[in-house]
Symmetry: C2
Subunit: 448 residues, 2 copies
């Protein structure tokens, strides 16, 4: 017996084969139709969203839902404009499918092309935000990937309204396959999706740390994303302290609720007495609570005016506050800082402030994180700032894609060997023909 959810996933997988071969003009026409329908049906989307908001308000009054969640759920006219702009931005991005990555002549008349291709079927699982559907669907469509969406039950009506509009528009374009995009209903469980490793090639979770962790721990499908963002700034004894104050403060307070904000400040003992008092004052002026190790506490407790300076516990080094709190530790040297970062960090984004060129090289070499910043804020680790146009997520994985991930994270490649009747037997044994293995400039579009 094929369940309803299996049927949907299988249909998307089947359509993924066709979608992988759809040409750029057709995909762009589909994206433009999606943008157009959202613009023409704003009222329909807002009406559906109103139902979700009403239900959410009721739950909030019962104390079962937070105001923050209600806010994230809310779709406004300007948010719809944002969705439309986001889709039209993807039209402008280069089509990543079918690019020739490498061409190698194996022998005269035997040419090997490595060509970029879509991964296949992407499973997106997200919490409340209804803007995930247009954003991710646009990126997946442009990169030729079929997609199944599973949203939170709170956004049921909004997701359904947006999804139905977008799919109807995309599939109305000639040459687009039917069924490549599927929205799972609420009664279909997340766990059923996590078990579909025979069909889903990659999972992208969008939500809280606990949500991502749950998904990572309960599926054999590869998961693109990160659970924690425990980022560090290390102030070296060769630091320019003006840069140190600027970058440290920005890394903490520019947007404390996000994964690339600093959680722990590490200070070289040789500059701690000089650096920390003014830094603490800056933190204090921005209402940042400081959780200090013994040595940094000894320095800061002498300062009268400071509030919010407390002692750190072991737990603090492992904690992502996502809030106006920073843990502070004094280290003997850069090596101790690196050791601390690799042990307690989440391999996301870590910063060194130093003018010493040799130390920059060692720090970037030994810190095992997806982004390492020299004299720049941890908050720069982001798909838009990294010039990717749009972001699928930030990955702390060690395979496939790492750091801020754009459409390239939705791509793999295939090898295409173009021959003329060649047999391996001729290249084996005594008198074997030799491979030429000559790198060529040719593109696959020159021969196919």
């Amino acid at each position: 017996m094929v369940t309803e959810i299996e049927a949907k996933v299988m249909q998307a997988k089947k359509a993924s084969i066709v979608l992988a071969s759809v040409d750029t003009d057709t995909k762009n026409a589909a994206l433009e139709a999606m943008a157009k329908t959202l613009d023409e049906n704003r009222r329909f989307v807002l009406e559906a969203n109103r139902k979700d908001i009403e239900a959410a308000e009721k739950l909030k009054r019962k104390g079962e839902l937070s105001q923050a969640l209600v806010d994230r759920l809310k779709v406004s006219d300007s948010k719809i404009t944002g969705m439309i702009d986001g889709i039209l931005d993807v039209v402008k991005l280069n089509d990543p499918v079918g690019e020739t990555i490498n061409t190698l002549e194996l022998d005269a008349d035997l040419e090997l092309y490595q060509v970029s291709s879509p991964i296949g079927l992407i499973g997106v699982i997200f919490e409340a935000r209804p803007d995930v559907v247009p954003q991710v669907m646009a990126l997946c469509l442009k990169s030729g990937n079929a997609t199944t969406f599973k949203g939170g039950s709170e956004a049921l009506n909004s997701n359904r309204a947006i999804f139905d509009l977008l799919v109807e528009a995309a599939e109305s374009v000639e040459g687009m396959p039917k069924g490549a995009f599927q929205l799972m209903e609420t009664r279909e469980e997340v766990n059923d999706i996590l078990a579909m490793d025979a069909y889903i090639d990659l999972l992208i979770p969008r939500g809280s740390n606990d949500f991502v962790k749950y998904i990572q721990n309960n599926t054999r499908i590869s998961v693109l994303g990160h659970a924690d963002g425990i980022c560090h700034v290390y102030i070296d004894d060769d630091a320019d302290l003006t840069k140190a104050y600027d970058v440290t403060l920005d890394s903490k307070i520019q947007y404390p609720a996000v994964c690339n904000a600093m959680e722990t400040l590490l200070v070289n003992e040789n500059v701690a007495e000089k650096f920390l008092p003014k830094m603490a004052q800056l933190f204090s002026e921005s209402s940042v609570e400081m959780r200090c190790d013994h040595a940094s506490y000894s320095i800061l407790e002498q300062i009268d005016f400071l509030e919010k300076v407390v002692r750190a516990t072991e737990e603090d080094w492992k904690t992502e506050y996502n809030d106006l709190i920073v843990s502070i530790k004094i280290v003997e040297n850069m090596e101790e800082a690196i050791e601390h970062i690799n042990s307690y960090g989440s391999h996301h984004t870590d910063v060194i402030i130093t003018e010493n060129k040799a130390k920059r090289k060692i720090f970037t070499g030994l810190v095992d994180s997806s982004s390492v910043m020299i004299n720049a804020s941890s908050r720069f680790a982001d798909g838009f700032r990294y010039g990717k146009g749009a972001e699928v997520g930030i990955s702390t994985n060690k395979i496939h894609a790492r750091g801020p991930v754009g459409m390239e994270g939705l791509m793999i490649y295939k090898y295409i060997l173009v021959g003329n009747g060649e047999k391996v037997a001729d290249y084996a044994g005594d008198d074997a023909r030799k491979f030429t293995h000559k790198v060529m400039d040719k593109k696959v579009s020159d021969v196919l």
Copy 2:
């Protein structure tokens, strides 16, 4: 309580950080020392192997082990020479660590470098063959990856002897970290390794299909490899039949026991009457058993001289024979062939024989396999033939690495942002500074 296996894995993980930064000369010196020690201690290795062979012969006499396994276990003087040559080949390969993949100016004085880096800790799990240790250790060392090895109990003494020699030689080179390579003892269970997803970044299994399948199904660590190799050759009605005979026969008989050999032959109905009788004769001369669908059987049963022509069952389309057996099916058109390949194949390597350029493009676009061959044998899908120097394995994964995988499958990247005290706050809100996002030619070695 840390178990012995956890202690080893944690030690390797720790050493992986240092190994990632070791320079090319040091790594090459370690490889040369490994080759030298194997050459100087041939007798020691052969003696250890003799113990394994004696134990295996005993088990064979009891019927608990096959002759094939005893053969694979056997290390000869010429096999040691092969191991040495293999290690020295890796010396010649370019160091894949620290290459600048992309450089982007985000703003004046704010430059983003995407730099290749090792994955970290690779777990290798293999069956009997003792030559896996030198081969994989050489590739991992050159690519800066720490490695844990878990071999089959039959090769216990051989693996231990080879491993100890190699590690002693590698660690004797100044600048090489200790503990980056670990050999697990037999009593340490495979399942314990499969559970170490907190430390091991990638698993590479080397062994039978069932062995690989077991590993894929019992770990959350990413697995690089493939279980099945069900490869197809499709003879189009626009085929040059001379090429068709050559490529089909080579794909089946050049080495039938391997994953990239053809298992199913698909023939367009318009050429079946012309093509199949002679093809069957060629198969017959090479003792290939033919398992035919109704239509192909109807053609071949009229030919008196043919032996070994039987009717195929549904099971045949899903079977990797690894033997002198081929299943044959007549299809109405290329679309049916593609549908069959995507449904029953293993996304490994599939072939079309056609002179029709439009069909080549459609076939390579729609066949969802890691290698697609046009008028060339499926047997070309191999790391050496694809010019990779050495092969980690052939992957049917859809993320990270696909097809024959060389050292590039052991690499990821990190982002290094080189700034001058920049804050994100300056690039946000009203009057935000604009990113320049200008692609640059600079290499990370120019600044670090």
